[in-house]
């Protein structure tokens, strides 16, 4: 956490909700009647009354399947959409009333939509953004240089954006978003399409921004790695409702039903693989074994105790299942309407 962090609220939602009127496509209207008949509309709830708070300096993952209400929420928080009911403030501003003031404090980065000018060098995008945000030209130039050095953009800024690789472009996008020193960064699928190394680089940049600079991070992603490496807290949304709001560890702990015990033995174990209910054992080599433990049946510690007695263990690790499984479990559980917070 950033030093000197006050528990000041960066984002606050109170009973925020949004419904849409969608045309009822159930009834077909044939032929010429299409010209004068108005389709009946049906109400669709994109977001049920939602309340949560995000403190300054937090790094929050906003997770949910497509159509769950994520983009609706982000659009309301960034001032694009008005809510149907309820209240929200972002850095003390009501997004849909104070758009101008809000725009100086927030920034958005989209993985799938570039905000840089495609045919010009990235440096020109910085110049345009300086004018858009009415920044002092000198200060902006210095800030751009600092960001360039910090994100490793040397030599990239003078090439047309269309010639950059996706990874290079995403780093430029984040730098451009930070030019006006926003306090909150909204990121939507920032690592989509990136190779392993580029993804790691981008994640560590965002992590550093959060931990060193105290920038509040609001991340939407389908990538479990993003969630685990960048965020401390996860809010899971499903069919317009928050079904989980807590730390990443809690997320794993409460929804983890399996743990994997990996053993490195000091001497090969060639005996019968131990049979325990709730445990699936796999021998990778006589020196390396893996045990998948269903923790609803038997705690991992019990299994471990049993194994210690029977095998010569040189090294052991207990790992959690990948985030995808965790999230899938939450969605699955959400459809039987269980809410965990």
């Amino acid at each position: 956490m950033a030093t000197g962090m006050r528990s000041e609220i960066a984002v606050s939602l109170q009973g925020l909700s949004r419904t849409f009127e969608r045309p009822d496509l159930g009834v077909p209207i044939r032929g010429l009647r299409r010209l004068w008949t108005r389709r009946p509309t049906v109400e669709a709830v994109a977001l049920h009354p939602t309340t949560f708070h995000v403190n300054a300096g937090e790094s929050v993952a906003f997770i949910g399947p497509n159509g769950a209400g994520k983009s609706t929420t982000i659009k309301i928080l960034t001032g694009i959409l008005h809510p149907t009911a309820g209240m929200a403030t972002v850095r003390g501003h009501v997004p849909w009333l104070d758009r101008d003031a809000l725009s100086r404090e927030i920034a958005t980065v989209f993985g799938q939509k570039s905000q840089l000018w495609y045919h010009l060098p990235a440096r020109d995008s910085f110049t345009l953004l300086t004018r858009i945000h009415d920044l002092d030209a000198d200060l902006a130039r210095r800030r751009a240089a600092a960001l360039c050095e910090r994100f490793g953009l040397d030599g990239l800024l003078d090439r047309p954006v269309r010639t950059l690789s996706l990874g290079e472009r995403m780093r430029c996008e984040v730098a451009a978003a930070l030019l006006h020193s926003p306090r909150i960064l909204f990121l939507d699928e920032p690592t989509i399409g990136l190779d392993v190394i580029a993804r790691q680089e981008l994640r560590s940049i965002i992590r550093e921004l959060n931990q060193r600079d105290g920038v509040t991070v609001f991340l939407t992603s389908h990538d479990a790695g993003d969630v685990e490496r960048v965020c401390d807290r996860a809010i899971v949304i499903h069919t317009g409702r928050v079904v989980f709001d807590g730390s990443i560890e809690t997320l794993r702990r409460d929804f983890v039903r399996r743990k994997t015990i990996s053993l490195e033995l000091s001497s090969p174990f060639t005996g019968e693989s131990p049979i325990m209910s709730g445990v699936v054992s796999t021998q990778l080599t006589p020196m390396r074994w893996q045990f998948q433990v269903d923790t609803t049946v038997v705690p991992a510690e019990t299994v471990l105790a049993g194994l210690i007695g029977r095998m010569q263990i040189a090294d052991l690790t207990i790992t959690d299942p990948p985030m995808e499984d965790v999230i899938a479990a939450i969605y699955g559980q959400a459809s039987s309407s269980e809410v965990v917070s």
Binding site: E21, R22, P23, T78, H82, W96, H119, D134
Partner: protein
């Protein structure tokens, strides 16, 4: 105020550089528009060769009309090209990018695009005025000022009709038609239109303010008509801004989902 000027200037400069990055396409667009406009002048030349003057109206008169209109439309799509693609951008939800930034959304949308063919129009308009209308220095000054006013009205009109996209899915085609209508009426002699049509041309489809009054002021300056032109300019800007603002509120209330879905 200076900020707005610097902002607009930065965008125009950026747009020009983007256009020049594809030089062949740029020159082709400019040339294409010059040819397009020239054909119309050829048509009128043919017409007035056969019928030297219709009710006192001759070739030089239509040349002046074309010079104002071409310059006005050229500068409009060149400097404020975003006004003409507004309908499709609204339909595709491209407004969101601009809503998160501090500048006035309509200004930002309008200056963010440049149609390079507009420079062909503007070039044609100025050239035709300079070489075919034998202007005096005073004429030239008046021409520049009046063209800029006409440009403003064209841009306002484009914003207003494109903003219909906030209400109907057919706005792209509809605004194309309405803009075509303005160009057509503006580039024909005013005397041809009487009665109800004339009323329309001074209100809903402001060809009167884009072409007729500026042309008559070029022939003979009249302070009364100059004031009417000024009032018309302010009026059309108000209509444009109001239409867009009301439409934007509708967009932000999420009532466009019927189209966006």
């Amino acid at each position: 105020m200076m900020n707005v000027v610097r902002f607009t200037g930065a965008y125009v400069w950026a747009n020009l550089r983007i256009a020049l990055a594809y030089r062949a396409a740029f020159f082709s667009a400019v040339l294409g528009m010059v040819i397009n406009d020239a054909i119309w002048v050829v048509f009128w030349w043919l017409f007035f060769t056969r019928f030297p003057s219709v009710d006192g109206y001759g070739f030089r008169d239509i040349v002046i009309v074309w010079s104002i209109c071409a310059t006005a439309f050229g500068l409009a799509v060149g400097l404020a090209g975003g006004a003409f693609t507004l309908a499709s951008r609204i339909a595709r939800g491209e407004l969101d990018f601009y809503l998160v930034l501090p500048k006035p959304v309509i200004l930002h949308l309008v200056v963010s695009r440049m149609d390079t063919s507009g420079w062909g129009d503007a070039l044609f308009g100025v050239a035709v005025f300079a070489f075919l209308a034998s202007p005096t220095p005073m004429d030239a000054v008046a021409f520049v000022g009046l063209s800029l006013i006409a440009t403003t009205i064209v841009v306002s009109y484009a914003i207003a009709v494109n903003s219909l996209a906030f209400w109907t899915g057919r706005a792209e085609t509809l605004s194309d038609q309405l803009i075509f209508g303005l160009i057509t009426f503006a580039t024909y002699p005013e005397k041809l239109f009487t009665g109800a049509v004339k009323v329309v041309l001074y209100t809903v489809v402001p060809a009167g303010f884009v072409a007729y009054i500026p042309v008559s002021l070029l022939h003979e300056w009249d302070w009364g008509w100059a004031l009417v032109l000024l009032a018309g300019t302010i009026g059309s800007i108000s209509v444009a801004v109001t239409t867009f603002t009301v439409g934007l509120r509708r967009y932000q209330s999420g009532n466009l989902t019927a189209m966006r879905a």
